[in-house]
């Protein structure tokens, strides 16, 4: 089933005229992000996402690219986390985050229809699937787009501003909001606080938030997409802030991604998204943990 998902993912993007790319997994400098702990490999690092290299390809002239690759984040382990996992990322030039939401809608509909055709004779194995099970989600129509601020107003006891001030953003999101997003169809949670998207473009009419969204399916976060920040000097400023924050909190910093910053000058409007393929496979197969859908779990190695 993993093989079928990988094959169908490729055929979907080939159908849209995307180019598949293959960039180095091991890099001397990776994205400075305060909440991601890098996994070291010799004196270099394993990527937490292929974002930097893929955006350099956009700057070099590629217009629509996708990649399926392993990514690594230290100390992340749980029902929905593994230190090594499989990411699908795709990027479009001349696009913004709304275009990516439309891609998500088309992608999941394509996977749902074609995956079923491949496993017609094995339907009984998919009885708990979020696509094909009795309580399966509805993928038709335009999916709901809910801003983070609205989500806090609707489902939490305090507003987004209060949650950020008291450092309870994540806690309220996980305990009060995410369980309510399991609504029978997918949903985009959008316009995240500016601080939580260091590579995302800020919203023109409201620079407090970034043009960024997370796709939720059955209450589980599947993808993170945004309109790309393409202003090199603003990006340098944001990386500086991240590096300082990591340093002040005793974390390991990997330095400034200079090659990436230089390339950014050649990039105009663009948007990109990271999609968790293991989580999608888990939902399609109706399993509860990522460990059940990877070929080998860390403890089996």
């Amino acid at each position: 089933m993993r093989a079928a998902l990988l094959r169908l993912t490729r055929s979907f993007f080939f159908g849209l005229g995307f180019l598949e790319v293959d960039t180095p997994v091991r890099q001397p400098v990776i994205i400075p992000e305060r909440n991601i702990i890098p996994l070291q490999s010799g004196s270099w690092f394993l990527q937490a996402s292929p974002e930097l290299c893929m955006k350099r390809l956009l700057a070099a002239g590629c217009e629509k690219i996708f990649q399926i690759c392993p990514c690594f984040r230290a100390e992340e382990r749980g029902r929905l986390h593994l230190e090594e996992f499989t990411i699908l990322e795709w990027y479009r030039t001349g696009a913004d985050y709304y275009d990516l939401m439309a891609d998500c809608e088309a992608f999941l509909r394509y996977i749902k229809e074609n995956f079923w055709l491949e496993f017609l004779d094995y339907g009984h194995l998919l009885s708990k699937s979020v696509f094909y099970g009795a309580d399966g989600v509805n993928l038709t129509g335009v999916w709901e787009r809910l801003t983070i601020a609205e989500a806090f107003t609707r489902y939490s006891s305090v507003s987004l501003e209060q949650a950020l001030e008291t450092d309870r953003f994540e806690e309220l999101l996980v305990e009060n909001i995410e369980p309510r997003l399991c609504i029978g169809s997918p949903l985009f949670l959008c316009d995240y606080p500016a601080l939580q998207g260091s590579l995302a473009k800020l919203k023109g009419e409201n620079p407090e938030v970034a043009e960024r969204f997370e796709l939720y399916l059955a209450g589980i976060e599947l993808a993170n997409g945004f309109s790309e920040l393409t202003d090199g000097s603003e990006q340098r400023q944001r990386f500086d802030d991240e590096l300082r924050h990591i340093h002040e909190n005793g974390g390991k910093t990997t330095g400034m991604p200079e090659c990436f910053l230089r390339a950014l000058d050649d990039l105009d409007r663009a948007a990109g998204i990271a999609f968790g393929l293991d989580r999608l496979l888990m939902l399609i197969m109706g399993r509860r943990t990522l460990g059940e859908v990877v070929t080998f779990t860390p403890s089996e190695l």
Binding site: E75, H81, E170, L173, V174, E175, Q196, E214, N224, N249
Partner: protein
């Protein structure tokens, strides 16, 4: 010290001077946000449970626990005396603290005693113990129902239900986790 990334089911930590065991654990990390470690914990002395969410930079003290092999010696009123098999050191645990365990204690029995900061907080008995039946009603011949049970008293004073063929003077095996009869045993 443990850090949040060490948290997992079964980890024993110390909070405000009390030992706790993590009974349920869930890691989450929404979007680009901070990692959260949600733990359900049980106080290993009082049994009280609570749930708490921790962050990556939270730190925890290791619980000062020690498990030692001991031998049950005797009881004097409500104090039950045990001897460390290696050091010959003697300790006592109160009847109240031992709870149902006293139903299965016989002289010279070896068991594990869990100490917290040098004080005993729990004992782990062998899963199966063999005890002598000291009182049983005779089997009423002719009772052919077969599924019936009858009460017997074993040497510790514990009363349990057994099949009707068990007689006074016989030894029976008891599962200490459930307190139930397993089988008859021959010496």
């Amino acid at each position: 010290m443990y850090s949040a990334s060490d948290l997992r089911k079964g980890l024993k930590i110390q909070i405000d001077g009390n030992p706790f065991i993590v009974t349920d654990f869930e890691f989450s990390k929404p979007g680009k946000g901070q990692a959260l470690y949600r733990c359900k914990m049980r106080n290993m002395i009082s049994g009280n449970q609570f749930t708490q969410t921790y962050r990556s930079n939270d730190k925890f003290e290791k619980a000062d626990l020690d498990e030692r092999k001991m031998q049950y010696l005797y009881n004097k009123e409500s104090d039950y005396y045990f001897m460390d098999i290696e050091s010959y050191e003697q300790i006592f645990i109160t009847k109240e603290h031992l709870g149902d365990n006293i139903n299965f204690l016989i002289d010279n029995m070896e068991l594990q005693v869990l100490l917290f900061g040098g004080k005993p907080i729990d004992v782990s008995l062998p899963i199966f113990v063999n005890l002598m039946v000291i009182r049983a009603d005779p089997w009423a011949k002719g009772d052919t129902s077969g599924t019936d049970t009858k009460p017997v008293t074993v040497e510790t004073g514990y009363v349990l239900q057994v099949p009707p063929f068990v007689e006074e003077g016989e030894k029976i095996q008891i599962d200490t986790r459930t307190g139930q009869y397993v089988t008859r045993v021959k010496d």
